[in-house]
């Protein structure tokens, strides 16, 4: 059996491991346009900061590919998929029996004038982006980051270690708009400001001239380097070439199989089901990619890794030691949700509840045992079955005695 | 210094026995020779013999051998005897002066039958009646001590080495089908004639070697049944235990021996159900009769003997058979000196009684 995986990220590498677990003999080929062993994408901000050196980037042990007998085709991009093979940019064809598309995302480039071909414009998604950026940025560089999402802010934090002038421009009324509510976002931007990063919200960059970034409101911000981090879109170009169905992302069944039974897809390029709001959308999240990779790999190799009933937004991220966690619905759009907010100094906890079920939460500077809340959201646990006020503190103690016994006494062992 | 009955005296010993299975009487010279060989197991402070079948002419009578320290004791005892028995014949037991035998008390014997009227009114059988009388004399008449009370048998004992005792009583002139002998090594007494062995009650005689560690448990047990352990000796209490179990409780000699030297619980546990129940019942019921500590005993009775070693076989006891004779002795050499080449020779096993009975 010949397995080919396009993409060497969280989904691709997890799939490779899962395939090898089920099929000790088949050949596995991983194709990546990056010349590196798989690494944690989110680590690139730490790379810039210098807390993680390049040799510490790899996600797996150095002998991983060898141990799992995985053939690597690195530094070459897959161009198209046709009749049982992947065509590389070199023209070489790689034949497959089962193919996984784990091509992840591409940065979204907004229509800002002065971007195209400009060497002072960077994106912030790959290690190569980070290497280039780190090289370009000097202590006195003036950096403007377009986009105050997770990537933009992590880029800002990373760059802050090597550069004194950083401005983040975010179109929404708050940073982290995609994952957090206004109150939470403001705490984060206040914290960033305190740590020397300027945050401009409700605005956007319209033009960049290698000296200034001109904002939508006409304001000009001194800028030598512009980092574009407004978001990503699924990289579905190859999938299109294979003729498989695509909606917001690649469409798969619950086993990550696409409309072509020999082709699977996993990770950020796939359309997922958000169990917290029932929507189908792209959820570019690390654990999601890992899980989908494992499921895809397992099924490709004839295994039966049980499918997830869906996934949900889940983020934990730190900015200058301020931890921010979000899960599920954090900013409900209608008033059918109840929200409970607890604040104390920088600490901010918000719980979004509907129909006796926790649908999402925000925890700023309150990470203690947060996973228990995540489990409540995922399991749709009726809150009325819990004792005590979980918004104050959550523990297994809030469960019934029988449930506690199961959880601590091995009762959940199958 | 305190004598037997006033204090408990540990002692080491030699024992020996010879029996003719056809009940043919033979002279005492043989047993004297056997016990004499084990002189170093005695220290001159006690020796004695029991002989069965020596008084055929008075075999219906109890032969009471009595030591008297003085005339007053004799007067009181004879008064008691006359009240309780019909004396058929009495007299001094013949002795001859022997080197090593000193300070002899007066030694008398009486062939007696229980007084019919008294016996009937006592409601006891003649054995029990006689036993009680013996115990009464021994515990209530100072200076009188009945040291033999069986029928057609007799004990002969004294302070001295056993071969000297044999010479003193001229035992070579007696003929018996069963002889037992004892040489004593008491640790701390000048020796008292009554304390020499064998110890007898009715037809029971016991020669014993060893010091039992269960003494007080056994003593307090038998005393519940009307016995009185005046001598505080192991031999005395073992005699009473046999008397209690066999004569009063009706156990066979073998079973009685299995009570005194009961099988280990491990062994009982491994027995077939029926046997197990039997031995469990015996041990549970007669736990006070279990004898502990090292001993070898030879119990003589009317028509046979039982040789018994302690459960752990802590004492030597050899046995041999040669044609119609069976021999026992603390040491093999004491057998070979009278029977150089026996047909069989073996070491008596711990807790396993050897019962030898005359035929018919």
């Amino acid at each position: 059996m010949k397995y080919v995986i396009i993409g060497n990220g969280a989904a691709g590498i997890s799939a490779a491991g899962a395939i090898r677990k089920h099929d000790k003999k088949g050949s596995i080929t991983v194709i990546s346009d990056e010349p590196y062993a798989a690494y944690g994408r989110p680590l690139i901000s730490y790379f810039i900061k210098g807390t993680v050196t390049q040799d510490k980037m790899p996600y797996k042990s150095p002998s991983f590919y060898e141990d799992y007998r995985i053939k690597t085709v690195f530094g070459q991009s897959a161009e198209k998929i046709e009749s049982g093979s992947v065509v590389l940019n070199s023209g070489q064809r790689v034949e497959f029996d089962k193919l996984l598309i784990a091509t992840g995302s591409l940065p979204f480039i907004p229509p800002i004038s002065g971007l195209s071909g400009n060497p002072n414009v960077f994106t912030f998604l790959k290690l190569d982006d980070a290497i280039a950026l780190k090289k370009a940025v000097k202590r006195d560089s003036r950096v403007v980051i377009v986009g105050g999402g997770l990537i933009g802010l992590k880029a800002a934090e990373g760059l802050h270690a090597i550069c004194d002038n950083i401005t983040v421009v975010e179109l929404a009324d708050r940073v982290l708009a995609a994952v957090i509510d206004k109150q939470g976002g403001d705490i984060v931007s206040d914290h960033l400001e305190k740590n020397g990063i300027k945050c401009i919200t409700g605005n956007s960059v319209e033009a960049f001239n290698n000296n200034e970034a001109i904002l939508k409101n006409g304001e000009a911000v001194g800028c030598d380097i512009l980092v574009v981090a407004v978001g990503v879109r699924p990289n579905v170009r190859l999938a299109e070439s294979a003729g498989i169905s695509i909606n917001k992302g690649i469409v798969t069944n619950e086993n990550m199989q696409t409309s072509n039974p020999d082709i699977y897809a996993a990770g950020d390029c796939v359309e997922s089901f958000d169990i917290t709001d029932g929507s189908k959308r792209i959820l570019a999240l690390w654990p999601n990619a890992v899980r989908q990779g494992i499921i895809a790999g397992s099924h490709m190799a004839g295994g039966a890794e049980p499918a997830e009933k869906g996934t949900m937004p889940l983020n934990s991220v730190g900015f200058f030691s301020l931890n921010v966690m979000t899960c599920g619905i954090t900013d409900p759009r209608d008033n059918s949700y109840e929200t409970i907010i607890k604040t104390e100094g920088q600490k901010y906890k918000k719980f979004v509840i509907k129909d006796d079920v926790l649908r999402g939460f925000v925890l700023v500077d309150s990470p203690h045992r947060a996973g228990l809340y995540t489990a409540l959201v995922r399991d749709k646990k009726p809150l009325s079955s819990l004792s005590g006020d979980i918004t104050e503190e959550m523990g297994l103690i809030n469960f019934s005695k029988d449930e506690i016994k199961k959880k601590i006494g091995g009762g959940e062992i199958q | 210094m305190l004598k037997e009955g006033q204090v408990r005296i540990p002692s080491g010993c030699a024992i020996a026995a010879i029996m003719d299975k056809q009940a043919k009487p033979f002279s005492g010279s043989e047993i004297i020779k056997s016990i004499a060989l084990m002189r170093d197991r005695s220290n001159g402070l006690g020796g004695g013999f029991a002989a069965y079948g020596i008084y055929p002419e008075y075999k219906e009578c109890f032969a009471l051998h009595i030591f008297y320290d003085n005339n007053q004791a004799k007067t009181l005892a004879e008064e008691f005897l006359n009240n309780h028995f019909d004396i058929k014949m009495c007299g001094v037991i013949p002795t001859k002066p022997t080197a090593g035998i000193k300070n002899s008390p007066k030694i008398w014997r009486y062939f007696a039958l229980p007084n019919k009227i008294r016996l009937n009114s006592s409601g006891k059988n003649e054995d029990e009646y006689t036993a009680r009388c013996v115990i009464r004399i021994n515990s209530s008449i100072p200076g009188a001590y009945v040291f033999s009370s069986g029928k057609n048998m007799g004990a002969f004992k004294a302070v001295g080495f056993p071969e000297e005792v044999g010479e003193f009583y001229m035992l070579d002139e007696y003929k018996a089908y069963l002889w037992t002998a004892h040489g004593r090594f008491p640790t701390n007494t000048p020796g008292w004639w009554g304390g020499a062995h064998p110890f007898t009650l009715l037809n029971w005689s016991i020669v014993h070697n060893g010091e039992i560690s269960s003494y007080d448990a056994n003593r307090r047990y038998v005393e519940m049944f009307g016995y009185k352990c005046n001598l505080q000796t192991d031999t005395e209490v073992i005699t009473y235990l046999f008397d209690l179990l066999v004569r009063k409780q009706g156990l066979s000699l073998e079973t009685a021996a299995k009570v005194l030297t009961a099988p280990d619980w491990d062994i009982i546990d491994a027995m077939e159900q029926e046997e197990k129940e039997k031995y469990t019942a015996l041990r549970a019921t007669y736990s006070g009769a279990l004898i502990n500590g090292p001993f070898s005993i030879i119990l003589g009775f009317d028509g046979g003997l039982v040789a018994l070693n302690d459960r752990l076989k802590l004492r030597a006891l050899m046995a041999a058979e040669d044609k119609e004779k069976i021999y026992f002795a603390s040491e093999e050499s004491a057998i070979r000196v009278v029977c150089p080449n026996p047909d069989t020779l073996w070491s008596v096993e711990g807790g396993t009684p050897v019962v030898a009975k005359v035929r018919g």
């Binding site: - | 307090r220 019942a281 041990r283 006070g288």
Partner: protein, 499 residues
């Protein structure tokens, strides 16, 4: 104003204290307090009962419990104990209660009796090489064993109970002690081939697996007594009296009667469980005989019936009567025996020592030729295996231990059983305290204690040249008194050392 002087003082070595707060959470008497704001730890010494839960649990051994250095102006007559007792009574107007055994300095005869060992004339026996038997059968024995002409056993043995060692766990009811404590004892008894005793509290359903080693007690309150209960026990014990409180009944306060206790005792939740002083159907010895035979009849003569009395002045005559009333087993409980709760005055002043009672009863039963027919159990503070050996040599078939078993399970003899706050989870029904006693651990500790004592008994037997406990029973020659008067020696039936 509190007149009482704290009895104890707690010293905390601040250099060692890691402020983990275990002491605070473990003390049911609220001696240790943690300051909410600073986290500093303080002590309320007045509450300390010296149970040593805190010193034992402290991971850095930070704590020392000392006698309070602050003293009353004491005299030999007005000791601080008596002064404190008066303060307490002046406050409450009530009878003083206490737990565990008589703490007064009466003579302890065990400590004035020495054991014998073999030298030269009689060899000692090496228990490692030779079988050393401690098995004991209790229950009435027949007058004699008879066989039929085929040599088959003819005598029908009265019900016998086998003990692999002559030590049993004395009566401690569920209620006076926790279920976990009782379970531990039951499991230890089962493991060691001996028995435990339900006390007057019924048999909790969780103890069913151990019913074959249960002595079920019938006491004056008749709590938990039913046909099923009687049928379940290995032995039925009629409790007339208890050594710690002869002449009075028992009282388990309503607070301790929770659902479980109520079910087991067959009384309503929250009601006081009162065991009357006398059995209201026993006003003389012939009434006892009727009860003994009612119980035998009820259980089809399958179980030995035991009668337990406190050791009192005329125990010997009473015991003789009990034997004649048909009891298979007589239990004598001496005045140093423990209790879950007793009036201090009674505990400290009523009854006699077990040693004297045992010696007198054994001698009396022998003089009446009854001893071989009935088993005799001694109780009332057997503290170690030597006490057991001495007890058996004085005449007991077996002994009951209770305090020693509880100590094995953590009891530190603080004598606060009556408060129900036992920090060791023994004498309490508070679930937070009961769970501190894990039967898995404590049954093993209790079993270890029995095993250890049994080993020691074998050692001592071997030294005496005895390889069966049967030959120790009543073997008073193995005992010598030391520092005892002739009268005491006479009662004990032993000679003085050197004789």
């Amino acid at each position: 104003m509190n007149f009482l002087n704290p009895e104890f003082q707690i010293i905390r070595d601040k250099d060692r204290c890691i402020k983990c707060g275990a002491c605070v959470r473990q003390c049911s008497y609220e001696v240790h307090v943690s300051d909410k704001d600073t986290g500093e730890l303080y002590t309320n010494d007045i509450n300390c009962v010296a149970c040593h839960r805190c010193t034992s649990i402290c991971p850095t051994r930070t704590l020392t419990v000392k006698k309070n250095e602050s003293v009353y102006r004491e005299s030999a007559n007005w000791t601080s104990d008596y002064i404190n007792q008066i303060f307490r009574q002046a406050e409450t107007g009530g009878v003083l209660l206490s737990g565990m055994s008589n703490p007064q300095p009466y003579p302890i005869y065990w400590d004035k009796i020495l054991l014998n060992a073999s030298q030269v004339t009689n060899p000692s026996i090496d228990p490692l090489r030779e079988p050393m038997e401690t098995r004991t059968y209790i229950g009435a024995k027949p007058d004699k064993i008879e066989f039929d002409s085929n040599g088959k056993l003819k005598t029908k043995m009265p019900p016998q109970v086998k003990l692999e060692m002559p030590i049993m766990f004395s009566a401690m009811s569920f209620g006076s002690i926790s279920l976990n404590a009782q379970k531990s004892l039951a499991a230890a008894a089962q493991q060691c081939g001996t028995l435990f005793n339900t006390g007057e509290g019924g048999l909790h359903e969780e103890l069913m697996p151990y019913k074959d080693c249960a002595i079920v007690q019938v006491a004056s309150g008749r709590f938990g007594v039913s046909k099923e209960y009687l049928d379940m026990g290995r032995i039925i014990e009629i409790k007339i009296g208890q050594g710690a409180k002869p002449g009075i009944g028992g009282h388990l306060p309503g607070e301790k009667i929770n659902e479980d206790v109520s079910k087991t005792r067959m009384i309503p939740i929250g009601t006081d469980a009162i065991s009357p002083a006398p059995h209201h159907d026993i006003y003389s010895i012939e009434d006892l005989r009727q009860l003994v035979y009612s119980l035998k009849e009820a259980t089809n003569y399958q179980k030995p019936v035991s009668v337990k009395i406190a050791a009192v002045h005329n125990s010997a005559a009473i015991a003789s009567g009990i034997a004649r009333a048909g009891a298979d087993i007589i239990v004598l409980d001496g005045f140093r025996g423990g209790t879950g709760a007793a009036p201090v005055r009674i505990r400290d002043n009523v009854g006699i020592p077990i040693e004297l009672a045992l010696a007198a009863v054994d001698e009396r039963l022998r003089s009446e030729s009854l001893r071989s027919k009935v088993s005799l159990i001694a109780a009332g503070s057997f503290r170690n295996s030597a006490d057991v050996v001495k007890g058996i040599a004085l005449g007991a078939d077996a002994v009951y231990i209770a305090s020693a078993a509880l100590i094995a399970m953590g009891c530190h003899m603080c004598r606060q059983c009556h408060t129900g706050k036992c920090n060791w989870g023994i004498a309490t029904q508070r679930s937070d305290l009961v769970k501190r006693l894990n039967p898995e651990i404590m049954s093993q500790r209790a079993a270890n204690l029995l095993t250890a004592w049994n080993h020691e008994i074998k050692e001592m037997l071997g030294g005496m040249g005895i390889n069966s406990i049967d030959s120790l029973r009543g073997n008073r020659l193995m005992l010598r008194g030391i520092g005892l008067s002739q009268k005491e020696l006479d009662i004990l039936g032993i000679k003085h050392a050197g004789e």
